[in-house]
Symmetry: D2
Subunit: 362 residues, 4 copies
Amino acid sequence: MKNTFGDSISITLFGESHGTAIGAVLDGVAPGIKVDDDFIKKQLSLRRPQGVISTSRREEDKYTIVSGVLDGFTCGTPICIMIENSDVQSADYNCLKDLPRPSHADFTAREKYHGFENAAGGGHFSGRITAAIVAAAAIILPALNRKGIYIGTHIKKIANLTDRDFCDYKEDIISLSDKSFAVLDPDLEDDMNKVILSAAKDGDSVGGVLETAVYGMPSGIGEPWFDTAEGKLAHALFSIPAVKAIEFGTGFGFADLRGSEANDVFTVKDGRIITETNNNGGILGGITSGMPILLRCAVKPTPTIGKPQKTVDMKTLSEQQIVAAGRHDPCIVHRARVVIDSITAITISDMLAMRFGTDWLA
Amino acid sequence: MKNTFGDSISITLFGESHGTAIGAVLDGVAPGIKVDDDFIKKQLSLRRPQGVISTSRREEDKYTIVSGVLDGFTCGTPICIMIENSDVQSADYNCLKDLPRPSHADFTAREKYHGFENAAGGGHFSGRITAAIVAAAAIILPALNRKGIYIGTHIKKIANLTDRDFCDYKEDIISLSDKSFAVLDPDLEDDMNKVILSAAKDGDSVGGVLETAVYGMPSGIGEPWFDTAEGKLAHALFSIPAVKAIEFGTGFGFADLRGSEANDVFTVKDGRIITETNNNGGILGGITSGMPILLRCAVKPTPTIGKPQKTVDMKTLSEQQIVAAGRHDPCIVHRARVVIDSITAITISDMLAMRFGTDWLA
Amino acid sequence: MKNTFGDSISITLFGESHGTAIGAVLDGVAPGIKVDDDFIKKQLSLRRPQGVISTSRREEDKYTIVSGVLDGFTCGTPICIMIENSDVQSADYNCLKDLPRPSHADFTAREKYHGFENAAGGGHFSGRITAAIVAAAAIILPALNRKGIYIGTHIKKIANLTDRDFCDYKEDIISLSDKSFAVLDPDLEDDMNKVILSAAKDGDSVGGVLETAVYGMPSGIGEPWFDTAEGKLAHALFSIPAVKAIEFGTGFGFADLRGSEANDVFTVKDGRIITETNNNGGILGGITSGMPILLRCAVKPTPTIGKPQKTVDMKTLSEQQIVAAGRHDPCIVHRARVVIDSITAITISDMLAMRFGTDWLA
Amino acid sequence: MKNTFGDSISITLFGESHGTAIGAVLDGVAPGIKVDDDFIKKQLSLRRPQGVISTSRREEDKYTIVSGVLDGFTCGTPICIMIENSDVQSADYNCLKDLPRPSHADFTAREKYHGFENAAGGGHFSGRITAAIVAAAAIILPALNRKGIYIGTHIKKIANLTDRDFCDYKEDIISLSDKSFAVLDPDLEDDMNKVILSAAKDGDSVGGVLETAVYGMPSGIGEPWFDTAEGKLAHALFSIPAVKAIEFGTGFGFADLRGSEANDVFTVKDGRIITETNNNGGILGGITSGMPILLRCAVKPTPTIGKPQKTVDMKTLSEQQIVAAGRHDPCIVHRARVVIDSITAITISDMLAMRFGTDWLA
């Protein structure tokens, strides 16, 4: 299946940026989970363009739960969430439709869909689709919390500015939950914003690294081959349009270590076997160890920039210049964070449901 | 499904390191593909421990094609390949079976399988299982070549030694194909071996980074969400026991770039739209662009080392010391390379078969 | 995945009978297929309660194509079709919600969803959900026709009245396409309606048998094990709430034949190998032979009847009587026919896309 | 995936009738299930040609458990079971290889695999492959029994001879378990054998109907759409080469009933809600009700017969006569019974594991 992911709990995405609506069908969720509309709204607000560094489309994401929820509780049947597209400006689009924007999906969409794609605003490739993921996951996240599982993501790096590591995982994760600019070291927010605004002033954009922790993850989840915990998470997370790299635990840092430095030795704490370090990011042999899952995603700089760029007319093959029309956002790293939390929540819920059955989350 | 991967072309793995045999069932392969036994043997030899830096188990991987191949051609039906385990020494294993080796899967296997796992030698988690992947992929790889698709992996980094980038992709890939120690810069082999041997002398091990290119990949392959080209490849590649990070194109390097530096602008070459740079590693919006796919995997240092390490008895919860019994390999980076090629070959063949139908590869 | 079906072309269903809306996400459809709104409307009208024998809910199924279609052509991206529930009367429902209706899903829904299900009007189990299937398939069916593939279903049997067999498949299928009461022998319509009305007068209902033919199906489609053409079709068709039996070709009739009578011997016609008879219903060894696919579905009598029936209060376990509230339909056989056509269309399109690639249907 | 079935517990089949071996990989089985070799052997013997009415290949199915079982218990990892082909006579095959046997898969295999198929003895389509299914299921069946779930199949009908219905389900199922000719009414065995022998004397074959019951099935298993209990079971069961029809409960008999006769009214027994009748065969709305699952499969007459039959040379398109070479079996109905039990066991185990988690069966 194509725009669908998951085995026991699955999500199917639909919609285009400038179409009628976008949405998701979330299936396999246990019946009886309380749906918290305020939480869904809060999560959606974290994904929306905001603050001084966001100049782009700011429509409120008015969602409708079309099915699968009754009297504030999940029914167990497929949950369809729709978000209408109200703030659409595609008037100017037609004159650009044969000019693929560099590092966007315009060109590959054309190669795949032969010109029938609804390309305005990025179409089905738009980051806007992630709003549906965020809304869907916001139904599951509080249930995970009730099971003692907490998920949080912070901006690990923008340019040469690096946030501190997770320290007390649970406390740190909770501290991040309401921040619109999620750094663990509060002093960094200003500096990072300056870097972003400086890029914006130049009509340019910046990327970054996001770091995610899952605290309270049960051990024994995942499979030795293919459906490893890393593989499932990476599969889902690479959907995020700007994510181009994922590492678990020490990740690429392993290349600089010897085994004696890299190995996580076992010890006992509170009657439970843990590891002294967590270089493996909570996953050994593809299976969760009970240590916090730790992963980092690299987010490429927003491809839409104010500067003119070279491109090629896909019909005439003539070289052209393109300038991004209208608004654009010089940084999406701070907003991608809630999308990563959301995809992580759905993916681990699916793995937990496979392991413990469909009612486990309720 | 658990130890199975793929939609149109799928692979199912079975076997334990010290069991009767390991193997794979490769299904969905087009009928009529010539099977080249010499090539299978060569590929298996690249995966086997070898040279001065490998001291571990060196049995020849005698494979049997149990089904799906007749008179040297694929039948179209499931291909089962089995490799017997001949060189098994599990006599000493029992006294260690409650002592999980740091950074191995022993502990998580216990959490998942409750002590019923066949743990000797790593059991179903053993890197040995990758031999079955290599043999299965060796049936597909020549067919990909005939379609103009070439896959190659080189050792990008061990310790602080870094190999040169791919330059002429096709030529470089072909030059790598027979190397037992795959570096593009031949001068590096000695230096890297010295680093490995120095670690070995200390009873230690090293990790590294492998870089893979797929040349000649058709454009338009992959899906916008979930079944992105990155997501599918990462899902499969994270099966390799030591791989803990994957990046595409510029990957984590994107965090240091501005959009104007990171964007791959379009141009025309030989009547075809290409990008001037390839920071996106041949994939835009989850879909292949026709540029070479470029990815890098981080391989953690072999967890088995000669030095004594702390661990915990899983039955008594008492802290213990463990010393790796017998032989072990201070570096598997050079051997992992053929496994990455193999998993990449199977994964892109599956994506191509989904796109162009089951007979396309023949 | 649960409420999702298909490998290359997939359909995901959502919605409850008395909820906001019902709908489907159809993914994997080739880009560039012309969408014919009149045809969608016609197909939906064939599914709707109609004529003298239908007294139940008659709302027009106003559908919205939320995504995946632009300027009248499929985009290649997921197509979400929604149908609002306008004519909902669930006021009286609450007093009945602990009294499961015999042969409905009320009891099993309770066992599965623990009382959180949206049960009014059958909820997610309602036959109303099939409207979404019909609308989705109506996008695909004309494309199949353009490929020379025609699908048609007639009422083979109601009570002791039996329609004639398919004769000239293509002609017969086309003749059925606009009939609201699909019998090949036009004289039967009156007699069958009399049987239905007689049951209705008694506050009772009738079942029947529907026979489906797929003409022009390419040969070589399906797999030897599990994903056989029969298995895939049956898997999908058993979703239809009232379908309790499926047979291919001679089906249960094989039990009365000897091999020499049952075997379909080969002959040549117009330079093509065909079989003289079609007892195997166009499928041999799970794979299509190029002969018309022939299958029959048994439809149980509508469980909702006017007569009082015994049931049990699910909370108190006391025995109770239940009488169907409001309107109900004494026969759904004639309406199920377009649902069978629709599910068959989606399923064979999926099998064809797996075989020939995702663009084949366009 | 093609020759693979199941979501949480899956089975992958490989092998050809006259190849090296046939086998299955059974994945997702809970760790710690006792493996009973005597039971596996007994089940395999029930599938083997036997008695006066079987003249065909009688090799003992010597199986090897290649992986996934240690010290007599399942490990939780993939279980590969192989059965060697020892009694192979394909010498004469070549002269027939362009002459498709009527009602066999020879012709459709050629259409799909273009002549590369290993066609001798039916190749991958051979009923012999079912031996691997039987062996795999024999690992699971005793675990189901320990959970109070019993599966049994009897010969419901051969020619005009009809066995009695299930009466005391559990007792009847147990009574069937060791019978090589499984009829509930012991007086029928002789009569049915006479019918079969009479066909054999004429160089002909017979089909029949098999009826299966699953007693003790928990309620609430299955999904409303697509992954209905009926759909999953039918999908899997249609793999059996000769099965051409499946009905649940009253099945095709529903066409002759009115709703008031067909509906299963609810009542209470031993504090549990049950239905007074079981016309729905233990499944309502696709979900198990806790009543016994009841299904019937039609088995077509063995296509291999002693009489000469018309066929067509696939290369020259000339009409030819074909006579079955060597041995053949005039009836496989009595042997198919253990295959149906086996596929049913694997399928319901998968559904139970999806619902209750992977450890439930242990």
